[in-house]
């Protein structure tokens, strides 16, 4: 561990979190966020992700310990000062049908406007720039109830952008999004990070987090583990994380697998390249364990007419031209 203290935009020391007067959900938390770093907070439902995020930015009073923002205790910041350092995107859906996208995004400039709330020319410029950044310029006059979930989330993030903070905290930003929208969003967040700012976001989606976060905070067994995704992979954490749920983590591919019920062993011949990879994946999904020299075997044949699979078992040999028909046969036979 090297680096000076001010490298950390956030530094959490011996923090204990929980709701008022209750017992702490998590305690002895020590974490840091560097400048220009994207941190993904991973944990199961009810593990305390939201509580941690809210305690970290002062929305919830911690049960114990201290949170430093840019090297200073959080309580030393007045609310408007804090609002210029940290922006927040909540997991709750915003339902304000008659608010326009532009009005929503403009709310992000509130820490900078005077008591009337009037936007300066620069404020307006920042708002339209943020709208352009999230590709929502065309939607600026649109009312919030006319937006899809992905568009509304982008608008909320634009609102956080214009707040011009060094840290952005997002609670489950991808919860309502499909895969393309999720990656769009992550790409947006990466751009924010590349500008030297920091992001902490919570998610269930470990696969995406593994691919794009600089650091993971994983809540497991009422403890928080911190490290680069690969550090945590090396420590064998991921296999352990899902051991109880029956989900398998393939350490070679970095992928998760939900196996079907165990169906015994099978041999695979001609296991090469893409066809090999996908056939293996299909067999594993069905619950077969692949090993050498079994009575039941599948052979991949690459011919001029295309790919074929032959399955040899007790009842002789069958030939299939899709993995789907092979799979149906294996299950019913």
């Amino acid at each position: 561990m090297t680096g000076t203290r001010t490298d950390h935009i956030v530094s959490v020391r011996d923090l204990a979190i929980g709701h008022q007067r209750e017992q702490a959900i998590l305690s002895r938390i020590n974490l840091t966020v560097d400048r220009g770093e994207m941190v993904a907070l991973i944990g199961r439902n009810g593990s305390g992700k939201t509580t941690l995020l809210k305690s970290m930015i002062g929305l919830l009073a911690p049960v114990g310990g201290i949170c430093l923002l840019d090297g200073r205790p959080l309580e030393e910041f007045s609310l408007p000062q804090r609002a210029r350092q940290v922006s927040f995107v909540s997991s709750q859906l915003v339902q304000l049908p008659s608010l326009t996208v532009e009005e929503l995004v403009s709310l992000g400039r509130m820490p900078y406007t005077g008591w009337t709330g009037r936007l300066s020319a620069q404020d307006r410029m920042l708002v339209s720039r943020a709208l352009a950044e999230v590709q929502m310029e065309a939607f600026s006059a649109r009312k919030l109830d006319c937006l899809s979930d992905g568009e509304r989330q982008r608008a909320l993030i634009a609102r956080a952008f214009v707040q011009d903070t060094s840290l952005m905290v997002l609670d489950e930003p991808t919860a309502f999004l499909d895969i393309p929208n999720t990656f769009d969003l992550i790409r947006l967040l990466r751009r924010f990070v590349e500008a030297g700012r920091s992001i902490v976001y919570s998610t269930h989606d470990l696969e995406t987090a593994l691919q794009c976060a600089d650091k993971l905070w994983v809540i497991h067994n009422r403890e928080i583990l911190e490290g680069a995704p690969e550090d945590l992979g090396l420590s064998g954490l991921f296999s352990e994380l899902f051991s109880s749920s029956g989900v398998l983590y393939n350490t070679d591919t970095g992928r998760f697998l939900v196996p079907g019920r165990p169906r015994g062993k099978i041999s695979l011949e001609g296991d090469r390249g893409e066809p090999g990879k996908w056939t293996r994946s299909a067999l594993e999904r069905l619950g077969f364990q692949i090993s050498e020299k079994q009575a039941l075997k599948v052979r991949i044949e690459s011919t001029a007419d295309g790919l074929f699979w032959t399955c040899t078992g007790r009842n002789g040999t069958m030939r299939f031209d899709t993995l789907h028909s092979l799979a149906r046969f294996l299950i019913h036979d």
């Binding site: 408007p80 304000l96 008659s98 009005e103």
Partner: protein, 326 residues
């Protein structure tokens, strides 16, 4: 547009009443061409003008209270009376009328004072509660429970009271714009007008609260202070109006929705003045209806505003679906 409607209604309302004094007569008097008789002048300045002034102030104040409550509770059905202010005022009035049996002219002042103290007590209690309790939903429920509790006590008092006292109380609870004259009117103006100007400055904070208290905190809104200021102004405004005019229903709930619908906006910079203006129009209009033009009869204003307000709320909720949210 609204301003023009308001001026027309203002003149129409001024025209109404016993003694058949036309607008042209009044104009002639003002320009000095033809003086009104002393009696006519008395009718205009002592009865008609104070009545309209009261309607204008109540019409501006109640919707602003309702708007503030709807935003802070993030509940489209909140109104100026959700915090139990009206019940507090009623309780005070009930104590004077039903408890002490005060009637007549003496009662007008003590009634207003007692209603004011009642509203103020509820407000102080609520501020205390809101300081201790963070969750707005809890505060809302407490306010409603408080109202119901006070209503129950009032009904017990009504049950055991004299017929004449009961009648005065029922008449007070029907609301009236015509009882505020002279000193009472100027006292009311001194309280209401400065506060209305102050509420205009809350637009930034209220906009910040649109997304909820959590978001408000993260964009630098001092939520506790905002809550204190908003509760205080609402209590004083609604409490004062109720003390002098009795409860006036539905203006506070319905008018902010009308303003939202008319201007299609959530921005409080627009909504606050728009609610004031719309409220003035609606209440002056209600006043005209309550006088049943062409007859000598009077309807209770509270019933008229409810009959006008309820269809508006139903229309907004069922047909327009706007009032289901803010």
């Amino acid at each position: 547009m609204l301003g023009l409607v308001l001026v027309c209604l203002f003149l129409a309302d001024l025209r109404l009443g016993s003694g058949s004094i036309g607008i042209s007569d009044m104009l002639a008097h003002l320009t000095g061409r033809k003086a009104l008789s002393d009696q006519q002048l008395l009718i205009v300045t002592r009865f008609r003008l104070p009545r309209i002034a009261t309607a204008l102030m109540a019409g501006a104040a109640l919707p602003v209270c309702g708007l503030q409550m709807q935003t802070i509770f993030r509940n489209p059905l909140a109104g100026p009376y959700v915090l139990g202010i009206s019940s507090g005022a009623s309780f005070g009035a009930a104590l004077v009328v039903l408890g002490a049996g005060a009637t007549g002219i003496v009662a007008t002042w003590s009634l207003a004072l007692a209603a004011w103290i009642g509203a103020g007590t509820v407000m102080l209690l609520l501020l205390f509660v809101s300081y201790r309790i963070k969750d707005m939903m809890t505060i809302l429920i407490l306010g409603i429970m408080f109202s119901s509790g006070l209503a129950a006590i009032i009904s017990i008092m009504q049950y055991f009271s004299q017929a004449s006292a009961l009648k005065s109380f029922v008449i007070w609870s029907m609301g009236s714009l015509g009882n505020v004259t002279g000193t009472q009117l100027s006292l009311m103006a001194w309280v209401i007008l400065p506060l209305l100007v102050i509420t205009l400055t809350f637009s930034k904070v209220l906009n910040g609260l649109l997304l909820g208290e959590e978001y408000a905190l993260t964009i630098g809104v001092r939520v506790r202070r905002a809550r204190f200021l908003i509760f205080t102004t609402t209590s004083i405004l609604a409490g004062t109006i109720t003390a002098f005019c009795g409860p006036i229903g539905f203006i506070g709930i319905a008018v902010p929705h009308m303003a939202r619908f008319l201007l299609n906006s959530s921005d409080h910079k627009i909504l606050i003045p728009a609610s004031m203006l719309t409220g003035m129009v609606v209440l002056v209009f209600s006043d005209i209806v309550s006088r049943l033009p062409g007859t000598e009869q009077l309807l209770p204003i509270n019933a008229v505003t409810s009959l006008i307000g309820i269809p508006v709320v139903i229309w907004l909720v069922v047909v327009n679906r706007k009032a289901q949210s803010l």
